[in-house]
C-alpha cells in the first residue's frame, strides 16, 4: 500500500515530466489550463501512471482523468492508498 504523500510526489513527477513545457505547479494542472495536454500527452500520462503504480485504468477513467486531482483520486482508489496521517 502506498502512502498518500508518496503518491502525490510520484504523480507530480509524472505530470512535471510530461507537461514540462507548461509553467505552474503540477498539482494545479488541468486539461483546460495546460496547452501541451493533447491526445498524445494524455496517452503518455495514462501509460506512465499505469507503469508507475502498476495499475490498469478503465476506459471511463482514461476519459475522466482531465485534472491532476482526478488522476490522484483514480490512483488512490486503484492502489488503496491510505489517507495521509
Amino acid at each position: 500500500m502506498l502512502r498518500m504523500d508518496e503518491t502525490v510526489l510520484r504523480l507530480e513527477r509524472i505530470f512535471a515530466e510530461i507537461f514540462w513545457t507548461d509553467p505552474g505547479p503540477p498539482s494545479g494542472k488541468t486539461r483546460d489550463n495546460t496547452a501541451s495536454w493533447d491526445s498524445l500527452a494524455h496517452l503518455n500520462l495514462v501509460l506512465s501512471i499505469e507503469q508507475e503504480f502498476g495499475i490498469a485504468l478503465a476506459d471511463q477513467e482514461v476519459v475522466d482523468m482531465t485534472t491532476f486531482a482526478a488522476a490522484l483520486e483514480i490512483v488512490r482508489t486503484k492502489s488503496h492508498t491510505p489517507d495521509e496521517s
Binding site: 513527477r13 509524472i14 510530461i18 514540462w20 496517452l43 503518455n44 506512465s48 507503469q51 476506459d59
Partner: protein
C-alpha cells in the same frame, strides 16, 4: 525503462543534424517510437539520430519519402497484417472476415511490388523489416482461440513469403519480442503495442540497428572439456567423447557451430595445455566435425593461456579486443579477465540451457548481416600465409629491410576496381581496418551514400592474389578530385594481411594514372593504432602541414610505385567487373 524516464531522456537528447531513422508503419507507433528514440539517445548520445514517422495509415507516404529525401538513412518497416489486406485489422471498416485466397494473392503481389521498388530505390542504405505477431490478427476465422483455420494459416504464410523476397534482396529482418495486442490503444489511438512490449521491441531494434560493440574476429577455444568431453592426454583419443550421442553430443553440436562460424568469416583457433604429440598427430583421425585445417591458428604447449592468446592474436594480426575465448577452467578465465580484459571470455557450459546461452552469446559477438567471399575464404587465407612463410624460409633469398625483392617469385597480381562505392566490401573494410588507415572514423551506410553523391567523388578498391592464394579485397581509398586535379583522400585503408608488399604505393599510382591526378592529399589523425599508415606516408617523404595534413606529388608516387613493381614483379590491372 519507464515511459516517463524515456520521455525525460528525449528532452535532454542532443539530436544529430544529419542522422535520422525512418520508422515506417501503418499503425500509430506511439510509445514504440518514444522508446526507440530514447534507446537511440542512450546508444548514440553525441548525436542522436532523429526518428521520423508518418501518420496512421500513411505507410505509402513513408515508403515514398524514405526512398527519396530520406533515402540514405536507415529505415525500419514494421509491418502489420492490415498492410496485406485492410480487413486484417480490428479497426477495419470492412467485415471481420478473411479475404479469399485470390484476393490475398493479389494484395500480396501489390505489397511485394511496392516493397521491392522501395528497396531498389534505397540501394546501399540499411533497410530493416519487422513482422507483426499472430496476436494482431483479428479472430476472423471459425475456429477457437489458439487455433488457426486453413485460411488464417495462409495469411502469415503469404506475408512471410513477401518478407522472404525482400530479405533475399538485402532487407534485414528483425524478430522483435511482441506477442500480445494492446486492444485499448489500438482502438483508441491506433497503436497495437503495449507499453512494456514497446520497450522490449525498441531496445532490441536499437541493439540490432546500432550494435553496442563492433563484431569480434576470432574465437579461441580450449580442447579438453570444451571441444570434447574428457582429457585427451590422460584418457587417450579413444576415450574422449565428441560424437552425436551421450556425453559427447553437446560438444559435437558445439564443433558444428564453430564450423558454421568459420564459414561466416570468424577465425577459429585453439589453445590447449597438452603435449603436441597427444593432440596434433591424432586430431584429423578422430573424425570430428572440426579438422585441423579449420583452425586459423593453434597453440598446443604448457605456456600460460594469456601468453598464448597474445601470440595467437599476433599471428592472426588482430587486436586482443577482437578475440573471444571459451574455456572450461574458471581459473584460466579469471586470469584472462584480469590480465587481458579486452578479451571476451565464456565458460564451457555444464547444462543444456547454458549451451544455448553460449551459442546466443557467441552469435552476438560474431553477428553480421552479410557473408561475402572474403569471409568464407578467411581461414584459407591464413593457410596460404603459412605457405608463403614456409616458401620464403625454404628459399635462399634473404629479406633485406626496405626491399621487396624476396616477393619476386610470388606472382603478385593487383586488380583495381574503380567506382567501388557499389561493393559492400568497400565500406566493410573501411569500418573494420584499424592499423593502416588515415583516421579512426567509422562511417554509416548513410554517410557512405552521401560521399558517393559528392561531386568529384572517387572510390577505388584493390584485390590481391599471388601463387599461394587470393587475399580478396585488401585496399580501399575514398576521396574527391578537385578542379585542380588534386585528390583529397578522406580514407585510405589497407588490410593488415597485405602489409609489406608495396600495394599501397601501386594503388596510389593507379589513382594518379587512371584519374589524371597531379597530387594526393589528406588528413592524418593518430588513433593510437594507425602508425603503419603514418610510416607509409613518411617513407614517401610527404609534405606535412599543420593539423596533420599531408600531401604527395604524382612524381613521388610514381617513383615509389616503380620501385615496388620492379622489385616484386607485381602486375597491376583494372577489374572487368
Amino acid at each position: 525503462m519507464l515511459l516517463r524516464q524515456a520521455l525525460a531522456l528525449l528532452r535532454s537528447a542532443r539530436y544529430s543534424d544529419d542522422r535520422q531513422l525512418s520508422l515506417l508503419c501503418s499503425f500509430e507507433p506511439l510509445h514504440f517510437k518514444t522508446y526507440l528514440q530514447a534507446f537511440l539517445a542512450e546508444r548514440v548520445p553525441g548525436g542522436v539520430p532523429r526518428v521520423t514517422t508518418w501518420g496512421y495509415d500513411q505507410l505509402d507516404v513513408g515508403l515514398q519519402e524514405s526512398s527519396h529525401a530520406l533515402r540514405v538513412h536507415p529505415a525500419l518497416l514494421f509491418l502489420s497484417w492490415a498492410d496485406l489486406h485492410p480487413h486484417l485489422s480490428w479497426r477495419t471498416r470492412g467485415p471481420l472476415a478473411l479475404p479469399t485466397p485470390d484476393e490475398l494473392r493479389t494484395r500480396a503481389d501489390d505489397l511485394r511490388a511496392r516493397l521491392v521498388k522501395w528497396l531498389e530505390a534505397r540501394a546501399g542504405a540499411d533497410s530493416y523489416v519487422a513482422l507483426p505477431p499472430l496476436a494482431w490478427l483479428p479472430s476472423s476465422d471459425h475456429v477457437a482461440p489458439g487455433a488457426l483455420g486453413p485460411d488464417a494459416v495462409s495469411v502469415p504464410a503469404t506475408l512471410w513469403a513477401v518478407v522472404a523476397e525482400i530479405a533475399r534482396k538485402g532487407c534485414r529482418v528483425l524478430d522483435l519480442p511482441v506477442t500480445t495486442l494492446n486492444w485499448r490503444d489500438l482502438l483508441g489511438a491506433g497503436c497495437p503495442l503495449t507499453v512494456e512490449e514497446s520497450e522490449r521491441a525498441a531496445r532490441r531494434a536499437v541493439d540490432l540497428i546500432y550494435p553496442p560493440e563492433p563484431r569480434r574476429k576470432a574465437l579461441v577455444v580450449d580442447l579438453d572439456g570444451t571441444l570434447w568431453h574428457g582429457v585427451i592426454g590422460e584418457d587417450g583419443p579413444e576415450r574422449i567423447a565428441y560424437g552425436p550421442e551421450g556425453l559427447g553430443f553437446p560438444f559435437h553440436v558445439f564443433q558444428k557451430f564453430l564450423v558454421k562460424l568459420k564459414h561466416q568469416g570468424v577465425l577459429i583457433a585453439f589453445c590447449t595445455k597438452n603435449n603436441p604429440e597427444d593432440v596434433l598427430s591424432v586430431f584429423d583421425r578422430l573424425g570430428m566435425p572440426l579438422s585441423l585445417g579449420d583452425f586459423a591458428a593453434y597453440r598446443c604447449n604448457w605456456e600460460s593461456k594469456t601468453d598464448n592468446l597474445r601470440a595467437i592474436a599476433g599471428e592472426l594480426n588482430i587486436g586482443l579486443d577482437a578475440v573471444v575465448c571459451v574455456d572450461d577452467n574458471p581459473a584460466e578465465l579469471a586470469e584472462i579477465a584480469s590480465t587481458l580484459p579486452q578479451v571476451r571470455g565464456f565458460g564451457t557450459p555444464r547444462t543444456g540451457p547454458d549451451w544455448l546461452q553460449l551459442f546466443e552469446a557467441l552469435q552476438r559477438c560474431f553477428a553480421t548481416w552479410r557473408v561475402g567471399d572474403e569471409d568464407r575464404a578467411r581461414t584459407a587465407s591464413f593457410a596460404a600465409e603459412r605457405s608463403r612463410t614456409t616458401a620464403l624460409s625454404a628459399s635462399a633469398v634473404s629479406v633485406e629491410p626496405g626491399s621487396l625483392t624476396h616477393l619476386r617469385g610470388f606472382d603478385l597480381e593487383l586488380t583495381v576496381r574503380q567506382d567501388a562505392f557499389g561493393d559492400p566490401r568497400s565500406l566493410e573494410l573501411i569500418n573494420k581496418t584499424n592499423q593502416f588507415r588515415l583516421t579512426g572514423e567509422r562511417w554509416s551506410a548513410a554517410e557512405w551514400l552521401r560521399k558517393q553523391e559528392t561531386p568529384g567523388s572517387v572510390c577505388l578498391s584493390a584485390r590481391l592474389r599471388d601463387r599461394f592464394g587470393d587475399f580478396g579485397t585488401i585496399l580501399v581509398l575514398v576521396g574527391t578530385i578537385g578542379p585542380d586535379r588534386c585528390a583529397e583522400l578522406q580514407e585510405f585503408v589497407l588490410s593488415c594481411r597485405a602489409f609489406g608488399r608495396g600495394v599501397e604505393a601501386a594503388a596510389l599510382e593507379y589513382l594518379c594514372r587512371s584519374a589524371g591526378v597531379a597530387c594526393v592529399s589528406g588528413r592524418f589523425i593518430d588513433t593510437g593504432k594507425n602508425a603503419p599508415a603514418a610510416r607509409f606516408l613518411r617513407s614517401l617523404k610527404c609534405e606535412w602541414t599543420d593539423g596533420g595534413r599531408w600531401r604527395l606529388t604524382r612524381p613521388v608516387i610514381e617513383a615509389s610505385a616503380k620501385d615496388v613493381l620492379d622489385e616484386t614483379g607485381m602486375r597491376v590491372h583494372a577489374s572487368n567487373g
